[in-house]
Symmetry: C2
Amino acid sequence: MQVAERAGVSLASTSRALHGTGASRAMVDRVRAAAAELGYSPDAIGRSLRMKRTFQVAFAVADIGNPVYVEMLTAIHEVLAPHGYRVVVMSTGHTVASTIDLVRSLGSGFVDGLIVSPLRTDDELVKAIQQAPVPVVVIGRSLEKQGIDSVSTDSAAGLGQAVAHLVEIGRRRIGFVNGPLDTTPGAARQRGFDAATSGPAFAGDHAETEQADDFTVAAGLAAARRLLSRTPAAGPFDAVVAANDLLAIGVIRAAGELGLSVPGALAITGMDDTEIGRVFQPSLTSVSLGSAERGRAAARLVLDRVGDVVEPAQQIAIGPHLVVRESTLPADPPAATPADLPGAEDVAGPPASKEKSAR
Amino acid sequence: MQVAERAGVSLASTSRALHGTGASRAMVDRVRAAAAELGYSPDAIGRSLRMKRTFQVAFAVADIGNPVYVEMLTAIHEVLAPHGYRVVVMSTGHTVASTIDLVRSLGSGFVDGLIVSPLRTDDELVKAIQQAPVPVVVIGRSLEKQGIDSVSTDSAAGLGQAVAHLVEIGRRRIGFVNGPLDTTPGAARQRGFDAATSGPAFAGDHAETEQADDFTVAAGLAAARRLLSRTPAAGPFDAVVAANDLLAIGVIRAAGELGLSVPGALAITGMDDTEIGRVFQPSLTSVSLGSAERGRAAARLVLDRVGDVVEPAQQIAIGPHLVVRESTLPADPPAATPADLPGAEDVAGPPASKEKSAR
DNA sequence: GTGAAAGCGCTAACAC
DNA sequence: GTGTTAGCGCTTTCAC
């Protein structure tokens, strides 16, 4: 700041001039000019120390490479950046313990808030979040009762939508390829499948689950091989519900290996409605969980909180909705592309830069 | 810090005890205990102000959603996190001007270094980078002569590899679907294609370029439709080289529309070797540009620089290499999946968590 | 509307 | 090996 003082005014005035409040036109001009000349921009750290705000928000997930989290990150960034907030990417690690460490590390005050989507949760983590020194928003299961801001979606209901759709197009023997049950999404989706396929409401003849080791294509392929090698008494499977798009693509590949046409012999649904599913051949029917929307909602929540809104914990729910594409088309069309790019039908969301890319 | 002083020692000792240097066993134990009791962790901002280091590095690209950048981000994070560095995600915007603004903003000192991969570059940006107050590493074209650390790859040569491969498997009439020419990658790849298909070394009969509006699936589909609607005098195209994987997938879809089998009637190559290409049906032959490796290299470079290594600007080149998959298989196999998951053959790189995902 | 001065939390000299 | 002290760059009272 000594530098900008070359404008012949005090430190205080310089600060005031550069940062809005209470300075005369003349002062502002003078200081601005001097600052421009010297190529000066105020030090973010000094500012942070004084103001006790870093203008940074952390986004933490287990695996930043996951398309779903990438969509969230993009959305979060888009909401936060215009407000002058930077986004710090962090990893929760794969265990609850490492996630707790992460939350505790907020104590050093390098961010004003945290958006976290933990794969696994327990009471200790909940407690750590409750005691966190900065606002924390959880994307995942609802924690309203625990007094924690959260953005959730009903993936169990989403699974119900997928099953209902398959039954509606005449499928009766439905397999479910799920990911690890000890994860929050894995557990929720299992609940959804079980609910949808048990009781008199289920019009199908058979329902069966096979568990994949992970939410990946490779794991989906392996699990689907196991599932499809079995033939239920009611007859061979005519549909498979996958717990996410990556698993679903593994299932499609397994179907290919076995010479099963998709959707002719085997209809397949995914979940998350990711780009990869939209452009796949056949394009993938998927339950959208509104990843971008959840990201935006979470970002707005932290923004509220850091702006010292002190209302009680909020819970925002984003409804799942099914997007029907080729992989569950009633008739088995030739391997041609539909008139427009698959996925064109569901450009309902924001006019975001979906399918954008380069280099 | 007043708090931790409850341990009955001075501020300085507390700092020393918590942060390594020169404190007795007893002191360390005592302070650690007190700190643990009070749930204290040292304030990152105060520390930064004093040390003039933020322990943060920014990673800036035009579009964080692009799979290539996601791979880089993951790799960068993996290298930096163990060294105690946080990663701040930023956007370069789509114009050179906005990228220049970004570089200038480093003046406020919120990060210790920047890794940037600009789509477009000009002299002014180069100058801004040279004058930047913190180390900047550019991923893209080589800027060694300009005294800027850079990590580059020879995508032009990579295009040559793709063309050579197609010629080798007997293709003679090769189309090229490129992205915008006014981008650094677009220009380089055009140069590569032109070099590979002109002069006596080219054993093919015809070479022709069609430009897409963007590096996306949709743009690739549109461009491929235009390209394939033309029939060169030498005969219909029997191969298409795409400037990246997303464009290539657009080309595959266009081929589907026209009833052209891939690779039977039309062999197709992509570039970037992304997950989406690896799992696609048919899996995509692609020129790997070592995204993760470039990310790691860039991260190590900034790490060197912030550790005040003062050597002259470095330039690290990552060689492109072709990964052959189904989309250019000499014979047209039935639509079955190969024995293992496509892409399994090229797990040469790090044992990274490729195809990892969840939720 | 402007200047002077205090102090955010920390680490690194510097004495002892 | 430990305590004392200065000061990093900024914003914000508090006087004027």
